[in-house]
């Protein structure tokens, strides 16, 4: 039998926790940030400002890195970087 309305879970329903992480938004932007690790001073402004939490800390090296699976290329990190270590480049 075809699945009908009665077989569906009651809405609104979040079917399982953390499912938004499956929505990879890395392809959204025309640009992506490129971090020059030699210039990075580990101030973590980009880490704070990133609206998608796509910047993670590399604690051993005291540097940051971008998770391109979720970065939407908004360029905020590049704007706030005080040492201009983040350049936006064409994807």
């Amino acid at each position: 039998m075809k699945e009908g309305l009665r077989e569906l879970p009651p809405l609104p329903a979040i079917l399982d926790p953390g499912n938004s992480t499956r929505n990879k938004t890395g392809g959204w932007g025309a640009f992506k940030p490129n971090i020059d690790k030699n210039k990075c001073v580990y101030c973590l402004l980009c880490w704070i400002y990133c609206p998608d939490a796509a910047i993670s800390r590399l604690e051993e090296e005291n540097k940051v890195e971008v998770n391109y699976e979720y970065c939407k290329g908004c360029g905020i990190c590049s704007q706030v970087c005080p040492v201009k270590a983040i350049e936006m480049v064409r994807r």
């Binding site: 938004t25 392809g27 959204w28 932007g29 025309a30 640009f31 939407k72 064409r90 994807r91």
Partner: protein, 183 residues
């Protein structure tokens, strides 16, 4: 000619909806019937979106979404990996893609033609922003021959929300740079 249906795939903010409207306007001013409307969903800047248009020599009664397009226009190269843009495409349709690649590298089994143009570079050069809708309309005019490029440029000048002259120039340059492959 009978009804031709067009589907635009873009990302929120690239102007897929405006592209459909400008195309419909141009077709209408050449004396044909046309309509344009967006897909209403969870659109926001960057998210995959769709818009539709129809062209006919006779009044158009259909108001539904376009499920079997004759022409598919893709405003962003990354969409090819995310969305099945050729879904439902009619036999002998034309696929128009904004990409740096050549038409030979774009897969489309049912297409009679594949056209590519690097609209992002054109838009960044001329407009300074990666908004590719007007450039891709130049490619549409070239690949399909449905409208004259002059009419499209006119409609762009009249309907662009910003930078009408620059947008027209982008479309003109895209028209001359579009690569068309007959499959």
């Amino acid at each position: 000619m009978f009804l031709r249906e067009i589907r635009f795939h873009g990302r929120g903010g690239q102007g897929a909806v405006t592209a459909a409207q400008i195309l419909a306007d141009a077709v209408f001013r050449e004396g044909k019937y046309s309509q344009a409307f967006p897909f209403f969903g969870a659109e926001r800047r960057g998210a995959p979106v769709m818009a539709f248009a129809r062209i006919d020599d006779r009044p158009i009664r259909v108001r539904s979404h376009v499920y079997e397009p004759d022409y598919v226009v893709v405003l962003d190269p990354t969409l090819l990996e995310v969305v099945k843009v050729t879904e439902g495409m009619r036999e002998g349709g034309i696929l128009i893609v904004n990409t740096e690649r050549n038409p030979e590298d774009i897969a489309c089994e049912t297409c009679s033609k594949v056209a590519t143009v690097d609209a992002t570079t054109i838009a960044l050069d001329i407009l300074g922003v990666p908004i590719t809708n007007t450039a891709i309309l130049g490619a549409f005019a070239k690949a399909t021959g449905e409208v004259k490029i002059e009419t499209v440029l006119d409609s762009i000048r009249r309907m662009s929300p910003a930078k009408p002259e620059e947008n027209a120039r982008a479309a003109e340059r895209a028209y001359s740079e579009t690569k068309v492959l007959e499959v």
